[in-house]
Amino acid sequence: MFKKILIANRGEIACRVIKTARKMGIKTVAVYSDADRNALHVKMADEAVHIGPPPANQSYIVIDRIMEAIRATGAEAVHPGYGFLSERMDFAAALEKEGVVFIGPPSPAIEAMGDKITSKKLAQEAGVSTVPGYMGLIADSEEAVKISREIGYPVMIKASAGGGGKGMRIAWNDQEAAEGFQSSKNEAAASFGDDRIFIEKFVTQPRHIEIQVLADKHGNCVYLHERECSIQRRNQKVIEEAPSPFLDEATRKAMGEQACALAKAVGYTSAGTVEFIVDGNRNFYFLEMNTRLQVEHPVTELITGVDLVEQMIRVAAGEPLPFAQGDLKINGWAMESRLYAEDPYRNFLPSIGRLTRYRPPVEGKTAGGGIVRNDTGVYEGGEISMFYDPMIAKLCTWGETRAAAIEEMRLALDTFEVEGIGHNLPFCSAVMEHPRFTSGNITTAFIAEEYPEGFNGVTLDGAMLRRVAAAAAAMNRVAEIRRTKITGTMDNHQRRVGDDWVVSVQGEAFPVTVSADKGGSTVTFAEGTSHRVESDWTPGQPLARLMVDGTPLVMKVGKVPMGFRLRVRGADLKCLVRSPRQHALSLLMPEKLPPDTSKFLLCPMPGLVVKINVAEGDEVQEGQALATVEAMKMENILKAERRGVVKKIAASAGASLKVDDIIMEFE
């Protein structure tokens, strides 16, 4: 076994690999760029080597830099993680030349699977089901119809040079095929100057399901079942699970065996993933093979009990796989939510900055009998930089059943505290609550279909809202009683905290009566229903763990005048708890609309304009840098808050501005 390995990666995957290496008694070497000087993977590794400036193309993917680090530290093997150099044939080859072991597949396998056309051909030869289609030249409509019939409707007619939906048609019958062929051809000729057309099977209700394979250098290859990754946003996976709620035993077996056949055909060793697209009738077609450890590998580990990184290292060291196909059973269900530093309320725009608070849920066994696992690459007080992937953690849960795993995930997401940057936790919570998701009836179009306008937050249903209102009333009582315990009160004339309150949340007002006893509070609503709230929450705790009617409720708690800001199940609520009199008088207060300053970019501080990045008439996107203002030698980049068109620029570079001076105006 190796004594020391280098991890040619950063972030959560570097940390993930270090954990297993440490467990195996192997020393680890981290590499880091200037931006990662204080990163978690650097802290966790036994040694760390600086490899260059922040941009990855000057550090993490510069093969020479990694090779230098290997030589300097004497690492015997390299784990590439995912991304960066993980699927670079020349990297594997460079290591080979140096006599350093690549913890991954042999370079020919990387090369073979790296090309879409070659890999599809190899797959076909290995007996793997591929999307039926015709690649040759198609002479006319008649031939197009003939080919379409052979493939079987529906078919997709595409321009070879196409992109962005141009020159693309879907045909469900002969007539549509004939017409579609002609119009695609014309469009392709006009748009791309290349009228070559090809036809392939159009997959309806597509799901993204992939098979994990593991092969050693002794000819053994097994599959560790599937993962379903259909919840994607613009080809970016958001939520994955294992197993798939859609596959039956026969399909699973067929897919697994084909995946192994392909791996064997290309002489694959180590962990790899064969991606399939699966249609509504469980027909599956090969997409591509990823010759590396996948981001979403933890869900497979949770249902099989196999540490994939450990097996990769052992395989690389020449050990045979310790199990056979028959040993690999599916145990329970696992979910993964990817935590992205992207603001869902601002069209998932990347968000950078300082993590002022970062408290993931406790890992390990849960009170509900499940398991929580969080693969993370960041820490509280760390900086999310603009240079790398915005994915900062992967929260996984395990349960006996899919429903149990989902419930564990809901609670884990509610418990996960992330402040200082925009992030997608509310969106993940929203998906976990979505009836279509919980039903398992998902496709790769789920997010596009269910959130066509983007994500605008979550509205809690009536039952959940009442649980939240009851909890808020009970928490408010604790806070109000504490206020009366201040020093300096008049003896015998202390304030008595009332029992009647009105909870206003999500546009509804609930008059409630709170009666407290030793174990908790009973909150009774006006129509007589009551909820039992038990909690050890004290004022100021940012996370409230409560039992409401015997089931857990976890909320992030902030303070607002006369109430709380509560975040739970993806909802972000202003929850006011007021005395009946306060509530009644509040109804007399005017509704105020926020002032419209959106049409101007105002100078936030007195300073000097260093640069104006846009011109009049430019269309700007949310988050786009508009101007740089320097104050006391510090440069502050001012960004667009929303999309718009620049109408007028009022300040020029070199201008000295006061607070709230207009820099530019939008249309």
């Binding site: 000087r37 204080n38 300082r354 993590l355 002022t356 608070r357 820490y379 509280e380 007080g381 760390g382 900086e383 504490r482 206020r483 009366t484 315990k485 201040i486 020093t487 300096g488 009160t489 008049m490 004339h493 202390q494 304030r495 009332g498 004290t538 004022p539 100021g540 705790q541 940012p542 303070k559 005048p561 006369m562 005395s579 009199r581 306060q582 008088l585 509040s586 007399l588 207060m589 005017p590 105020k592 501080m605 007195p606 300073g607 104050a631 006391m632 030698k633 510090m634 440069e635 502050n636 709230d660």
Partner: protein, 510 residues
């Protein structure tokens, strides 16, 4: 007997009706509560004890004998906020526009006298059209009486003014002399002369809101310390502030049960100060992570953002915080910041509220506008305020403190009790580059040489140890343990006694 009891109830009903249902409706239509509704929300339920409900004015000019109202346009009395005593007055706009008569003012004076005598704060809710013109000079005299009491009460009991409607002309000078002024957005304004007079005299066209609304006074003039959306929110937040304040200058700041470990460690503070010395960071994060339960009541949030002032609690007891904010103007001191912080420090000192100062200051802001505006004297206010303060003073230096600003910001030389520094701190006369340019003027042509000199200077002075060697810094502390160290420092200072030489009063450079 029964009739007499009934008469009392009848008379009370008349007094409580204020200006009558129609005027109350008009008040509500403007988004404003009535004087009595405001008192109800401000005080603990059922705790209000009224004074002078039946007082009526004595004016007989201009037909005033026909319009008498019991209470004369102001409701006064006392009650409790979370069980602690407070005196209140609330002007009733529905009665003669809340205008101030001799008797109206006398009612206010009465409760202010009681407040001074009994040592409880005064909260005034202002909603008045101004002097009652029919009374002429009597009305002005009445203002004078109130002003005199504001002055005498200053530094004896906390005074808070809530501006909840118009407050114009001479009337503004009563709130002006109180400790804190809060306004309601869109429905309150304060000015010495209204838009009409402004137009006549200076030809300036300006609306009441632009001239003296909440936005003007919280962002531009700094007359007000904060603004809230509506009456209900303003009053709720006033109750919150009240819990931070001592009742009078003879009592310590209040303590309440707290649910936060004084030894709480915040590892994230070790990375608060960025590696790049020119990159700003948010000082508020440090304040919130030091404070009990992350609870911070900020004063003058929207004015002079380069300095932060407000109240937190440590181990349940109120502490005033003054902090440079690197996010705004690099946290430098200027006229506005100095004035803002000086007044806050003096409030804390007057009422025995300990002061925590968090320092990252590059110096005073240079420029003609500052010098012409008198930054010398305004900066001196903050220096003076810190130097005369005898309350416990704990200072934490996070990054840099240069030049005169170093001395100003609660330094050891101004009787700082605990002056801590983070390892990232540096105390110097100026930044290394500036210093080298003066010390090695003859070498300025030689870039390499200068770079070497800058490095030498940094190596020598860009750390807290030079100051620590001299005892100007008591201890260099780990950022993550700041809460524990600061809390222990204040705990050790609970018995602090310090006095200034006898004087009639000082002569702070106003």
């Amino acid at each position: 007997m029964k009739d007499i009891l009934q008469e009392l109830e009848d008379r009370r009903a008349v007094a409580r009706a204020g200006g009558g249902a129609r005027r109350v409706e008009a008040q509500h239509a403007k988004g404003k509560l009535t004087a009595r509704e405001r008192i109800e929300l401000l005080l603990d339920e059922g705790s209000f004890e009224e004074f002078d409900m039946f007082v009526q004015h004595r004016c007989t000019d201009f037909g005033m004998e026909e319009t008498r109202h019991p209470g004369d346009g102001v409701v006064t009395g006392w009650g409790t906020i979370n069980g602690r005593m407070v005196y209140v007055f609330s002007q009733d706009f529905t009665v003669l526009g809340g205008s101030v008569s001799e008797t109206h003012a006398a009612k206010i004076c009465k409760i202010m006298d009681m407040a001074i005598q009994n040592g409880a704060p005064v909260i005034g809710m202002n909603d008045s059209g101004g002097a009652r013109i029919q009374e002429g000079v009597s009305s002005l005299a009445a203002y004078g009486e109130v002003f005199q009491r504001n002055i005498l009460a200053s530094g004896v009991v906390p005074q808070i003014s809530l501006i909840m409607g118009p407050c114009a002309g001479g009337a503004v000078y009563s709130p002006a002399m109180t400790d804190f002024i809060f306004m309601v957005k869109d429905s309150s304004y304060m000015f010495v002369t209204g838009p009409d007079v402004v137009k006549t005299v200076t030809n300036e066209q300006v609306t009441a809101e632009e001239l003296g609304g909440a936005s003007t006074h919280t962002k531009k003039s700094s007359v007000a310390d904060g603004a809230y959306e509506n009456d209900v929110e303003l009053i709720a937040e006033t109750r919150r502030l009240f819990d931070f304040l001592p009742l009078n200058n003879r009592e310590k700041a209040p303590v309440r049960p707290f649910f936060d470990d004084p030894a709480r460690v915040e590892m994230s503070l070790d990375t608060l100060v960025p590696d790049n010395p020119n990159q700003p960071y948010d000082m508020k994060e440090l304040i919130l992570k030091i404070a009990d339960e992350g609870d911070f009541f900020e004063i003058q949030k929207d004015f002079a953002g380069n300095i932060i002032t407000g109240f937190i609690r440590l181990e349940g007891q109120t502490v005033g915080v003054v902090a440079n904010q690197p996010m705004v103007l690099a946290g430098c001191l200027d006229i506005d910041a100095s004035r803002k912080a000086a007044r806050f420090v003096r409030f804390c000192d007057a009422f025995e509220v300990p002061i925590l100062t968090l320092v990252d200051v590059p110096g005073f802001l240079p420029g003609t506008s500052q010098e012409y505006g008198g930054v010398i004297k305004h900066g001196a206010k903050l220096l003076f305020a810190y130097g005369e303060a005898t309350v416990p003073k704990v200072t934490v230096l996070t990054r840099k403190t240069y030049g005169g600003a170093y001395v100003v910001m609660s330094s050891k030389h101004l009787r700082g009790d605990f002056n801590y520094a983070w390892p990232t701190a540096e105390v110097a006369v100026m930044g290394a580059k500036g210093a080298v340019e003066i010390l090695y003027r003859s070498e300025l042509g030689d870039k390499d040489k200068i770079a070497g000199r800058v490095k030498d200077y940094e190596d020598r002075f860009a750390n807290p140890f030079v100051a620590a060697e001299k005892g100007f810094i008591d201890e260099v502390i780990m950022p993550h343990s700041t809460r524990r160290r600061v809390a222990r420092a204040f705990a050790s200072l609970r018995t602090k006694k310090q006095a200034n030489p006898w004087k009639k009063h000082d002569n702070i450079p106003l």
